[in-house]
């Protein structure tokens, strides 16, 4: 390993020219200057630089010395600034020779070209730019252009394919006087589709104004975002941060062409991979330095989409063109889970195999001793045969190995000829009650009072518990002895523990998912008290600004503010409890109250979906003993399922009924809907994990509901109503019947 590391270090050193290391004379002596007109913190600028570096650092002829200048001309275009910059660079590079220059964008070229002619006459310049920005521009002979283009018009075509009703495009970018040329170019591109798309101009607005306009775009519009570097109010932005400030408010999907903006609110687009442009620039420099002809490749765009935005605007991934890349998938647990299930199944199979082997062993009792020995040797785990008195008469190799190592159960490795029962008695001290149970099990089988038995016990080993399973099987006729098989089941138990933990995690995810579904109604619940607080506070301010304020009225305002603040606080507490999913102490819970709180949570969601919820409460207050938050989760899941089920029904017939009742000491909560009912022939199937009829569902909601209901000593049933629709009934033992 060490040798390998030294070799690796040597290779790294060899790959760098000494020029890359400070204080060592340059080897290749070649120098390349990269000139950006922009500020280095723009993501695309960093991408271009990264692409250039990636190629030139791996140059087989040795890495040239790289110098990078960021002129920040877009934000500081004043002649005073550019003049001072030029003077400064002239001083800085006065004694530095330069073999090639990479000028990024027209601004960079315009700045460096005269200076380069002065400092390094005849130096080749590679010029990276968008071809559309340099139309009708004469490019000097020593400049090699590497031209990309932003596929703006093609992105509009893409948007129209994805949104068939689209007739308008809202163009969002920064203040045009700062980015005049770019804005004009993009506008021309947008207008190239003016036969099919009407342009809504949202350029150069102050951010606050843009935020107001973007919420109410017409249904037949989409947004094309270029990049706000300075808004209409003169505020500076990083374009993707600007995007993040208005994208969540947008009522329509936003398309763009800059990869750095992905994940900040773009639904997608034909993104220009500027790193690829940088690499192409690097390759051009490489070829020029090597004296080879330069050939430039064409498109640097890729089709990329944001899964979250696609979902938000209901754009099906099936509509995306071939070759599209979809990012930001919500991570699912299921990619990892099957392995664990497989682990648990494997452990079960091993156990079954052992039992089968045991039976085989019994059948072969009459066969030759040699055959028995061979069989024993082939068995996994440790096997011993005991005579009627508990003495070990035969063992397999594993058992002997353990005996030699002195490991396993204290009784586990008892050598041939010794008393197995006595070994168990001796181990009482080290393994406690398990030893008593083990002793009793072996005795019972030997005396014929049990035919077989199993015991799982743990032993502390190396700071952790190892778990063993011991199977004892009688040799017939009774009194002839027994076979003892001992297996290390630590892994199986760990797998089981892990599965249990996953289950908890899944339940948590499910809760988080439910909260996500409720996000809009939670905002609604918070909006009410916050709205009242603001109105009261502003009313109080008005009252206080009068010459003789009515203090009683001010006091009333303030009291209401306090009350509303508490109301908002309760909403937050409830969400927090649900999200954490912590086990709240079990207590007597009023079921009507739990259902009411769930209905409050879903009220906004229901009205948004045009569905009504009809509650019928038991007149008494039925109580059950349990975990309030978990019960909320069950009813929440059932009601949300009901709302999903009625989504396709005609408006006016979307109804979910929730009722509570008490019969014969059991509390029933039933949730029924007017949807299509359960299509599965086996109604029980709906409670199986992964059973789902929803495109987006994991199919876990109902299986989690069932485990929660059962953990409360209750049961849950699914039914189809006589006149259609599905009904879920949960029955719990009433808390009144439980001993206090």
């Amino acid at each position: 390993m060490r040798a390998f590391r030294i070799i690796a270090a040597f290779i790294t050193l060899a790959a760098c020219t000494p020029a890359a290391l400070p204080g060592i004379e340059p080897g290749t002596g070649r120098a390349v200057l990269i000139v950006h007109a922009e500020d280095p913190y723009l993501p695309w600028v960093a991408d271009v630089t990264a692409g250039i570096y990636e190629v030139l650092e791996a140059d087989p002829a040795g890495r040239p010395d790289l110098y990078v200048e960021h002129l920040d001309l877009a934000r500081f275009p004043e002649p005073g600034h550019t003049g001072a910059r030029a003077a400064w660079l002239r001083e800085k590079y006065r004694h530095q020779k330069m073999d090639a220059i990479l000028a990024v964008t027209k601004g960079g070229l315009d700045f460096i070209e005269p200076l380069a002619g002065e400092l390094w006459p005849g130096v080749p310049i590679v010029f990276l730019e968008n071809e559309r920005f340099i139309r009708n521009v004469l490019i000097p002979g020593r400049v090699t252009p590497v031209l990309a283009r932003f596929e703006v018009a093609e992105t509009l075509d893409l948007a129209m394919d994805l949104l068939p009703g689209a007739r308008r495009v809202a163009f969002v970018t920064g203040a045009p006087d700062i980015e005049a040329q770019e804005t004009a170019y993009v506008r021309t591109e947008l207008l190239s589709r003016s036969d099919r798309l009407e342009l809504i101009d949202l350029t150069g607005l102050p951010m606050a104004e843009l935020q107001k306009r973007i919420v109410s775009l017409p249904q037949d519009a989409f947004v094309f975002y270029w990049g706000i570097r300075v808004d209409g109010a003169g505020r500076s932005f990083i374009p993707r941060e600007a995007l993040r400030q208005f994208a969540p408010l947008s009522s329509r999907p936003i398309f763009g062409v800059f990869p750095g903006q992905m994940g900040y609110g773009l639904v997608g687009g034909r993104l220009l991979e500027l790193k690829e442009l940088g690499k192409e620039g690097g390759r051009a420099v490489q070829r020029i330095l090597a004296g080879e002809p330069v050939a430039i490749r064409g498109s640097f765009s890729r089709l990329v989409f944001d899964d979250r935005e696609l979902r938000r605007f209901g754009i099906s991934a099936d509509r995306l063109p071939a070759g599209s890349e979809v990012r930001f998938h919500e991570e699912t647990l299921w990619s990892r889970h099957p392995k664990l299930v497989a682990g648990a199944v494997a452990a079960l199979l091993l156990q079954t195999a052992l039992i089968a082997t045991l039976l085989l062993e019994r059948r072969r009792r009459g066969l030759a001793q040699a055959l028995t020995g061979a069989t024993l040797a082939s068995l996994p785990g440790q096997v011993a045969v005991l005579d009627g008195g508990g003495r070990v008469v035969q063992v397999n190799e594993n058992w002997e190995t353990l005996a030699a190592a002195g490991g396993g159960s204290p009784a586990g490795g008892t050598p041939v000829g010794e008393d197995y029962l006595a070994a168990w008695r001796r181990s009482r001290a080290s393994i406690g009650p398990s030893a008593e149970a083990g002793l009793r099990l072996v005795q019972d089988v030997l005396q014929g009072s049990a035919k077989h038995g199993t015991l799982e016990y743990s032993l502390p080993e190396g700071g952790r518990d190892r778990w063993y399973e011991m199977n004892v099987e009688e040799l017939r006729p009774p009194g002839r002895g027994a076979v003892v098989v001992q297996v290390d089941v630590t892994q199986r138990r760990q797998a089981a523990t892990e599965v249990r933990m996953r289950d908890r995690e899944i339940a948590h995810l499910n809760r988080v998912g439910a909260i996500g579904e409720l996000a809009s109604s939670l905002a609604h619940e918070l909006g009410q008290p916050l709205g009242a607080i603001l109105a009261n506070a502003q009313a109080a301010r008005r009252l206080l600004s009068r010459p003789s304020p009515d203090l009683e009225e001010v006091r009333a305002s303030v009291s209401d503010i306090i009350e509303d603040d508490q109301r908002a606080g309760h909403v937050i507490q409830r969400v927090r409890a649900l999200l954490r999913g912590e086990e709240t102490p079990r207590d007597t819970v009023d079921v009507n109250e739990v259902v009411r709180s769930v209905l409050r949570m879903v009220a906004g969601e229901a009205s948004l979906r045009g569905a009504s919820i009809r509650p019928v409460f038991a007149s008494s207050s039925p109580t059950v003993f349990g975990d309030r938050v978990q019960l909320e989760q069950v009813f929440l899941n059932l009601v949300l399922n009901g709302l999903d089920a009625v989504a396709e029904s005609t408006p006016g017939q979307r109804e979910v009924r929730v009722s509570t009742s008490v019969t014969n000491g059991s509390v029933e909560v039933s949730v029924s809907d007017t949807g299509p009912g359960i299509q599965s022939p086996d109604l029980e199937l709906v409670f199986e994990p992964f059973f789902t009829t929803k495109a987006q569902g994991l199919g876990l909601g109902l299986s989690i509901c069932r485990s929660i209901v059962e953990a409360h000593g209750g049961e849950i049933r699914a039914e189809n109503g006589a006149v259609g629709g599905a009904a879920f009934r949960c029955a719990f033992p009433s808390a009144d019947r439980l001993p206090a």
Partner: protein
């Protein structure tokens, strides 16, 4: 104190919010009637004809949209400002095109401006 026209009707099912808005609007010089539901508003007897309705979108029974449509069907065209605590004001604005819709919590100035815009008046200071 002088009241600035017009007389307003606030229809909102949230009692605390109703009380707060009434206090604010009165403080700004409006005369205000409040109603807990669209049904209450329709069942009101006599009283002044309101110059502007401030309508919560989601009410317990009929929605604010329903109320506006019903009034229009009976030939009553009262300027409306929608208010809602719901997230997606864009959706609501589309559903009721041309009608301002404010999301709770909203600033008093926005409300006054919206009332002035739909009634053709000037907002109070």
């Amino acid at each position: 104190m002088n009241t600035v026209s017009p007389a307003l009707a606030v229809v909102d099912d949230d009692a605390a919010f109703r009380r707060a808005l009434e206090r604010l609007l009165r403080g700004a010089g409006y005369s205000v009637d409040t109603f807990a539901s669209a049904e209450d508003y329709l069942a009101r007897e006599g009283g002044p004809r309101h110059g502007c309705l401030i309508l919560d979108v989601y009410l317990g029974g009929k929605s604010g949209f329903d109320l506006r449509a019903e009034l229009a069907e009976s030939g009553i065209h009262i300027p409306v400002v929608f208010i809602t605590a719901h997230e997606d004001v864009g959706v609501i604005a589309r559903a009721a095109s041309g009608v301002p819709c404010l999301r709770k919590p909203f600033d008093e100035e926005l409300l006054f401006e919206a009332i002035a815009a739909v009634t053709g008046g000037t907002p109070p200071q």
